[in-house]
């Protein structure tokens, strides 16, 4: 594999992890616009533990993910009382606050950034992304995923049928935050440098865009969305600076024509029926 291709695929792996972090709460109808903040927590926590306390990475990375998840849990409980645009604003502000906090935290280098000693190669990053995808595929086969859609579809009825709407929403938010922290920790150890400015609003917004583009109805949406957004600009490189303009026009047209995203339940069902009509129950 060429260095260029590897570089692109590593970016893809990070984008996939981020996309699933946004997907989980979004599948329950909750927009998290502060995902970069949770990635920063995972990145800085894991970097700090390996740098200052000589923790091995296999311990530091899960702790980083866990801290991001715990923050998501503690913040999710009050923040998820808000809905719609208010929740979007609250999580947006949250991402900014976390980023600003690290920007001013001198023990992790402040605005100058924070070099990270331990290194994870591309294969480690690919493995991490694959693990996240497998976890998401697993969850998509459980009642948890069923309740995410149920809560999004009709929270009142889900509640009356005994489903803990708040419990499901907080769990999805916190689990998403943990996945973001997991990806962030790998980011720190792959690039060996973290700076608060990287975890900015654009990162959060782009990640949401991947998920909306791929579609939130199925577990495959974020994967397809992240892949498209990472690879398409690379393939359009020949047209130089115009590629971003072309790409933007394409996104606007696409979202106007297909607001539900690229991969939908009906699309998957259609694809499944064609080759094997008799085993349509398989997934």
């Amino acid at each position: 594999m060429s260095g260029y291709l590897t570089g692109v695929l590593v970016v893809l792996a990070f984008n996939v992890m981020a996309a699933y972090a946004v997907y989980l709460p979004l599948a329950a109808g909750q927009l998290n616009l502060g995902i970069a903040g949770f990635m920063a927590i995972g990145a800085y926590a894991s970097a700090f533990l390996t740098n200052e306390y000589a923790w091995p990475m296999w311990a530091a990375i899960p702790v980083g993910a866990g801290l991001a998840g715990l923050t998501g849990l503690l913040i999710g409980i009050p923040v998820l009382r808000t809905h719609g645009i208010y929740l979007a604003m609250a999580t947006f502000a949250l991402g900014q606050v976390i980023s600003a906090l690290f920007l001013n935290l001198e023990v992790v280098g402040g605005a100058a950034g924070y070099p990270v000693s331990d290194y994870v190669g591309p294969n480690g990053v690919f493995l991490a992304a694959a693990a996240v995808v497998v976890l998401m595929l697993y969850l998509s086969r459980t009642r948890f995923a069923l309740y995410l859609t149920a809560v999004k579809s009709d929270p009142t009825v889900a509640d009356l049928l005994g489903v803990s709407v708040r419990g499901i929403q907080v769990a999805a938010f916190a689990l998403g935050a943990a996945v973001a922290g997991f990806g962030g920790a790998f980011y720190a150890h792959h690039y060996n440098f973290v700076e608060a400015q990287h975890f900015n609003v654009l990162l959060s917004v782009f990640t949401v865009l991947y998920v909306l583009f791929g579609g939130t109805q199925t577990v495959w949406g974020p994967l397809v969305g992240a892949a498209f957004f990472t690879l398409a600009p690379e393939l359009l490189r020949a047209s130089d600076q115009w590629r971003y303009a072309l790409f933007a026009v394409f996104i606007i047209v696409f979202m106007a024509i297909r607001p539900q995203g690229l991969v939908t339940t009906s699309l998957l069902r259609f694809a499944r029926r064609k080759p094997a009509a008799e085993s349509s129950e398989a997934a």
Binding site: Y138, L139, S140, R141, T142, R143, F144, L146, Y147, T149, A150, K152, S153, D154, T156, V157, A158, D159, L160, L161, G162, V163, S164, V165, Q217, T265, S266, R269, S280, E281, A282, A283
Partner: protein, 252 residues
């Protein structure tokens, strides 16, 4: 014997407007009861108070001997009381089968149940049970369809089957026969009689008096949020207050 559902001194106002005033009635176990009254009498409000969509201003609600007046709405179904909805509330992004699985939730609340990858097993017991319940109502052909696109009568029956899957002993049905054609209404009657034969107590809000007459032993009549009569339909029909409430509205 404790009543399936007991309502005592229930009051509810919305922004100063009295919706329910000093309402008391009981649904004994096994006695199919109808809640009738002109439009706006407060019938659906009673359902919403019992299921916990709204909090009560005063009064007590007891289901199977358990005081549920101030119980969180999501816990009430575990006391054995479930409901359907007037404006069918199915999860439109889920398939019919998946709606049934959500209906089973109250009997499968453990963390293990939450994280069991049942979709990997084509014949997982939850699916088998849900398909059997659908088959009993002749709905199995729709099992894998997304709910949103289905005909009204079918969605109506799915809503009913989902309510039964909670394993509740008391079912509150909000206008189950509304909008159904005569053959669908007959199928519904058979379905409800089968549920009654299983020992399930029904409380039905319904405008179709022939339908009420064919399944309900007891009738509670509401007007402007107050109970104006109670008893067998034949008796209630003769009541002067009931006749007055219905004049110009519909024939009783």
């Amino acid at each position: 014997m404790t009543a399936a559902l007991s309502i005592q001194g229930l009051n509810k106002s919305f922004a100063g407007v009295r919706a329910i005033t000093d309402l008391s009635f009981e649904v004994p176990k096994g006695v199919t009861t109808a809640l009738i009254g002109p439009n706006g009498a407060g019938k659906t409000t009673v359902f919403n108070l019992v299921s916990g969509v709204y909090g009560v201003d005063a009064g007590t609600i007891t289901a199977n001997g358990v005081d549920i007046t101030h119980m969180p709405s999501r816990k009430r179904i575990s006391t054995g009381i479930a409901r359907s909805f007037q404006n069918i509330r199915l999860m439109s992004h889920l398939t019919v089968l998946e709606n049934m699985l959500v209906g089973q939730h109250v009997r499968n609340t453990s963390l293990r149940a939450l994280l069991t990858p049942y979709r990997l097993f084509p014949n997982h017991r939850w699916k088998v049970e849900a398909r059997a319940a659908l088959a009993e109502s002749g709905l199995e052909e729709w099992a894998n369809e997304t709910v949103g696109a289905l005909p009204y009568g079918v969605r109506k029956r799915i809503d009913l089957v989902r309510a039964t899957l909670a394993g509740a002993s008391v079912l509150m049905l909000d206008e189950p026969a509304a909008g159904l054609n005569p053959s669908e209404t007959n199928a519904l009657r058979d379905h409800l009689k089968a549920l009654m034969a299983k020992g399930i107590t029904l409380l039905v809000v319904e405008h179709d008096m022939h339908f009420v007459d064919s399944i309900c032993e007891n009738v509670v009549v509401l007007n402007f949020g107050e109970k104006i009569a109670e008893g067998p339909l034949s008796q209630v029909r003769q009541n002067a207050k009931v006749r007055e409430a219905y004049i110009g509205a519909e024939e009783v």
